[in-house]
């Protein structure tokens, strides 16, 4: 083994910051290929994004890492650790931990599209970590590429010197060697002392069917070895290390991971939920005196109910959710029972995208048909007696007369868009009770900062933003705490009975519009019955919107003779089976499709 200090000098830890579609994964693949991590034959497309959904959406959900062996032009050998960061606003904390594990970053910007809001958020984080940032202008070989304009943008908007930005095309293999050389030359080697007590950061973890829970770590001080008894400082649990290694990207076992290195360990851990991202790992003996800074408990921001379309699938849903959770400790779930939708789970997520990902994985990987109730945020309810509670299901709202006030979470949102769409975006933010904080122009692009109540954002904000800007606006946010709000619980009543799955908490000013819209939709969705049915939206006892579904007047087969019996009988049997998929509300049968459609509604246009 070489001299440890020489070795540490030749380590480079870096991440790649990029907006979705700007070519992060392709670039990562190129770097792996160039340094011989995998042969051409072994390269399946985009090695790092290994979940189907990640491949489809072009985003990274779990942080992955790969260690590259690179012989630089100076003849020296380097170990480069590439840390792939989650690419979405919902995973901001995970991103911050991944960045904290590195000393530098490649800022990959599409040379045709320029800087986007997501890129900005991550690059600022990276700057806060004192990272050395290497700008890479990707896709320079595209006809629409404007490297000079984008170079200027990087300098103007981010304030980085982009004069030495690498002109690259990950797809065509242009500029890859330049990137590797700049990594070696510009990114500093990690610090840390292998002789100090162990301090390693838990960057991420995932479940592997063969290895159990695999933990991605960055060793800050000390050494991690097989057989070592370790302690998770925040979690307070102890484990025995049974494997130490790195990914190249194939798994390679190593004798140790020392200060400055990124790699993985396994420690006979069965569930991902036993590991907390950002936790500090130390030894049981000779523990580090204090943990690394920056640890945060993961907290769910958005909640919704997940119910099986077919009630018989409840057990399957329970098993599937439990299995998923083995691999993703960032969502929470508990049993929920709804008169409308039957048995299901109330689940908490880091954000809307996270919700969508989990929902999609359940649907796709576990083959479940799901109903998702309207997403809700967490409200703080202050009761008249001064007690407080957190509400994440509108159905659990206490009696209004006992409530002193309600607080709702707010966010600061940064939206970045071509200026032609600005008008529509400002109106959207305004309609959603937004407070404008800042508006700046760079060339023909605008950056606008708004404070917004989160509950207005979980309600189809992304979709509206996308359609207003034809997909050109990018969006990023962080939470800025709770604020008092004029919030009310709106019930939807069908034939006088409240429908639990459709109740929602809304701002008083928006209640009437939302209520009217919901009543109109339900009028379309609920089939006519043998009697007329009032559909009402109400706050407390006060009806704020009402529609009436008139009674059915005709449903009869004109001709029915000897030969028609069998056919008619089949129809009747089908109708009787259909009854099973209906929910009864005050004698009104509401087909499940009506709930699904009502919950999907969002377009208030």
């Amino acid at each position: 083994m070489t001299d440890p200090s020489y070795y540490q000098d030749h380590i480079r830890n870096f991440s790649i910051i990029a907006h979705i579609d700007h070519g992060k994964s392709t670039l990562a693949d190129r770097l792996i290929q160039q340094t011989g991590g995998l042969t051409q034959r072994e390269m399946s497309e985009q090695v790092l994004d290994n979940m189907d959904i990640e491949k489809e959406r072009g985003i990274t959900i779990k942080a992955q890492t790969v260690r590259l062996h690179y012989t630089a032009k100076n003849g020296e050998n380097y170990e480069l650790s590439l840390m792939d960061t989650p690419g979405h606003v919902d995973f901001a904390y995970e991103v911050s931990r991944s960045l904290a594990a590195c000393e530098g970053a490649l800022l990959v910007v599409d040379a045709a599209q320029g800087v986007e809001a997501q890129t900005l958020a991550n690059v600022y984080q990276s700057i806060e970590h004192d990272h050395e940032i290497i700008p890479v202008l990707n896709k320079v070989d595209l006809p629409a590429a404007e490297p000079e304009r984008v170079r200027h943008e990087i300098e103007e908007i981010i304030g980085l010197d982009a004069s030495e930005a690498v002109l690259a095309s990950a797809k065509s293999g242009i500029g890859i060697e330049d990137i590797l050389e700049q990594i070696v030359a510009k990114i500093p080697p990690p610090g840390g002392d292998r002789n100090k007590p162990l301090k390693a950061m838990l960057v991420d973890s995932w479940y592997d069917p063969y290895l159990g829970v695999v933990i991605l770590v960055r060793v800050i001080d000390g050494v991690l070895k097989k057989g070592l008894k370790i302690k998770f400082m925040a979690q307070g649990t102890e484990h025995l290390v049974d494997r130490v290694g790195c990914m190249r990207p194939k798994i390679e076992q190593l004798p140790e991971l020392a200060a400055g290195e990124i790699g993985f360990i396994t420690a006979q851990i069965k569930e991902v939920s036993q590991t907390a991202v950002g936790d500090t790992i130390t030894t049981v003996k000779d523990s580090a005196p204090e943990p690394l800074p920056g640890f945060k408990e993961v907290q769910s921001v958005v909640f919704c109910g997940l119910f099986p379309v077919d009630a018989a699938d409840f057990e399957k849903l329970r098993e599937s959710i439990s299995k998923l959770r083995l691999n993703d400790a960032s969502f929470t779930f508990e049993m929920e029972s709804s008169a409308a939708l039957g048995q299901g789970f109330r689940c908490g997520f880091l954000g809307l995208l996270h919700l969508e990902i989990i929902q999609e994985r359940l649907t796709r990987e576990y083959d479940l048909d799901l109903i998702t109730t309207a997403p809700s945020v967490v409200y703080k309810i202050i009761m008249n007696d001064g007690s407080e509670q957190f509400l994440h299901n509108p159905a659990d709202m206490p009696d209004v007369v006992k409530i002193a006030e309600i607080e709702e979470p707010w966010i600061e949102a940064t939206i970045y868009c071509p200026d032609e769409y600005l008008g529509g975006i400002l109106k959207l933010c305004q309609d959603r009770r937004g407070i404008q904080k800042n508006l700046t122009y760079v060339g023909d692009r605008a950056q606008v900062v708004y404070e917004l109540p989160l509950n207005e954002v979980v309600f189809d904000f992304y979709d509206r933003l996308k359609s207003i800007s034809r997909g050109y606006a990018s969006f990023d946010y962080h939470q800025i705490g709770l604020r008092n709000g004029q919030l009310v619980k709106m019930n939807i009543m069908v034939n006088g009975d409240p429908v639990d799955a459709l109740s929602m908490i809304v701002h008083r000013d928006a209640a009437e519009v939302r209520g009217r819209h919901m009543c109109e939709r339900l009028k379309e969705l609920i089939p006519r019955h043998l009697f007329k049915i009032p559909v009402q939206a109400a706050i407390g006892g006060k009806v704020i919107a009402r529609e009436t579904i008139s009674a059915m007047r005709k449903d009869v087969t004109a001709k029915c003779y000897g030969g028609d019996i069998s056919r008619k009988k089949k129809l009747l049997e089908k109708q009787k089976k259909g009854k099973a998929k209906m929910r009864e509300y005050g004698n009104v049968s509401i087909p499940q499709e009506a709930f699904i459609a009502a919950l999907k509604m969002g377009d208030e246009s």
Binding site: K554, V556, T557, A558, I565, S566, L572, Q575, N587
Partner: protein, 380 residues
């Protein structure tokens, strides 16, 4: 043992109508001798299954049974009488197209034993007849009606209403005219778009817009009011006659009594089983040649199924369903057959009545029968 009815299906038509989903086929040539032999064989088979029961009615349906040579009709009637014997006052009905060609046969058909015809007049408006794909016009149809009324004791005819963009006024005028011809039976069907028909295709492509349900309900009410005023009240959803002039054959279906069905695609209910013949004429012929009958399916029906079928059919009648008789017929209790809370609720809404063990759909409930049935019938 109650009465037994015989249904004979003649599957051939000159052309297919765009609204019709019945088992009808267009063939260039029909070998009458082959069909005579096959139908007689099929009838003999059924006669052997259900012996010793007198026939109360025979019905020749189709297709277009008025295209059958009267001699063939005569032979089938003679054979039926030989197999079973006729009850007093047997009703022998034949469906007929009101064309001049077919009307020319009416006298011979009456001679053969037909004593009731059901004419497919369908409309008293030439444009509508064209829209419905009918070969006759109003004048020809009415001439055939006149001929029929001279040849047969009892005459009924069919009209199709609730046609696209048909107003209440125009249907009222058409129906009043129809009532003025003095027949003692009318079948008045709302146009329904059946799967697999040309009309269904037109609806799908947006070329045909069916009447909406509310308008159909208004037309239905109007029909009931006019026919009642004229002395031909509805005794079934779409059938109107003074007391005693109902189609006895069709009452057999609705009262869920036994009937034997022969010929392609014919259905039967006898010996607590459902029977169904091969639909395609050629398959029917080869089945008869092979097996001595045209059966495709013969399936015993569970008591629950029979109860369901009996309610489904019987509640179409103004007279309703006598529940004690149904209990006796199926061996099931009323509690087992009916969803009592639902029946109560529907009674409160005025959609049905339950008196003296008789379940009857009210005038208000009749146009909603298909929606009522799944509620009324218990989950089995």
């Amino acid at each position: 043992m109650g009465p037994l009815a015989l249904y004979v299906h003649w599957p051939f038509c000159v052309s297919k109508c765009p609204y019709c989903d019945f088992n009808s086929h267009v063939r260039a040539q029909v070998d009458v001798a082959v069909w005579e032999a096959a139908l007689l064989t099929d009838m003999a088979y059924e006669a052997a299954q259900v012996p010793g029961r007198k026939l109360s009615s025979i019905f020749f349906g189709g297709g277009t049974p008025s295209l059958m040579p009267p001699a063939l009709v005569a032979k089938l009637i003679v054979a039926a009488e030989r197999h079973w014997g006729f009850a007093d006052g047997i009703e022998i009905t034949l469906e007929a197209n009101p064309s001049s060609v077919e009307a020319a046969n009416f006298e011979d058909l009456a001679q053969a034993g037909i004593n009731r015809v059901s004419l497919g007049l369908q409309s008293l408006d030439d444009q509508t007849l064209e829209f419905l794909g009918r070969a006759h016009d109003v004048e020809e149809g009415l001439a055939a009606l006149d001929t029929a009324q001279q040849a047969f004791d009892r005459v009924s005819f069919d009209l199709i209403y609730a046609r696209p963009s048909q107003s209440l006024e125009s249907w009222s005028a058409e129906l009043q005219r129809a009532l003025s011809f003095g027949t003692d039976h009318l079948s008045l069907y709302q146009l329904t778009i059946e799967p697999g028909t040309r009309f269904e295709t037109l609806v799908r492509t947006g070329e045909l817009i069916p009447a909406d349900d509310d308008h159909m309900a208004d037309l239905f009410d109007l029909t009931r009011n006019l026919t009642t005023a004229a002395g031909l009240p509805a005794y079934e959803i779409s059938n109107h006659a003074p007391l005693g002039q109902e189609s006895r054959h069709n009452l057999t279906y609705w009262r869920y009594q036994d009937y034997v069905g022969i010929g392609p695609g014919a259905h039967g209910r006898r010996l607590e089983s459902a029977t169904e013949r091969h639909k395609k004429p050629e398959n029917f012929l080869s089945a008869v040649a092979r097996n001595g009958n045209g059966l495709k399916v013969e399936q015993p029906l569970a008591p629950e199924t029979r109860a369901m079928e009996a309610l489904m059919m019987g509640l179409r009648l103004a007279e309703g369903v006598p529940l004690e008789a149904l209990e006796a017929k199926t061996g099931l209790t009323i509690a087992h057959m009916l969803d009592a809370p639902a029946v109560d609720q529907l009674a409160k809404l005025g959609l049905l009545t339950m008196t003296d063990q008789r379940l009857t759909i009210s005038a208000k409930g009749m146009p909603l029968l298909d929606a009522l049935l799944p509620k009324i019938i218990a989950d089995i």
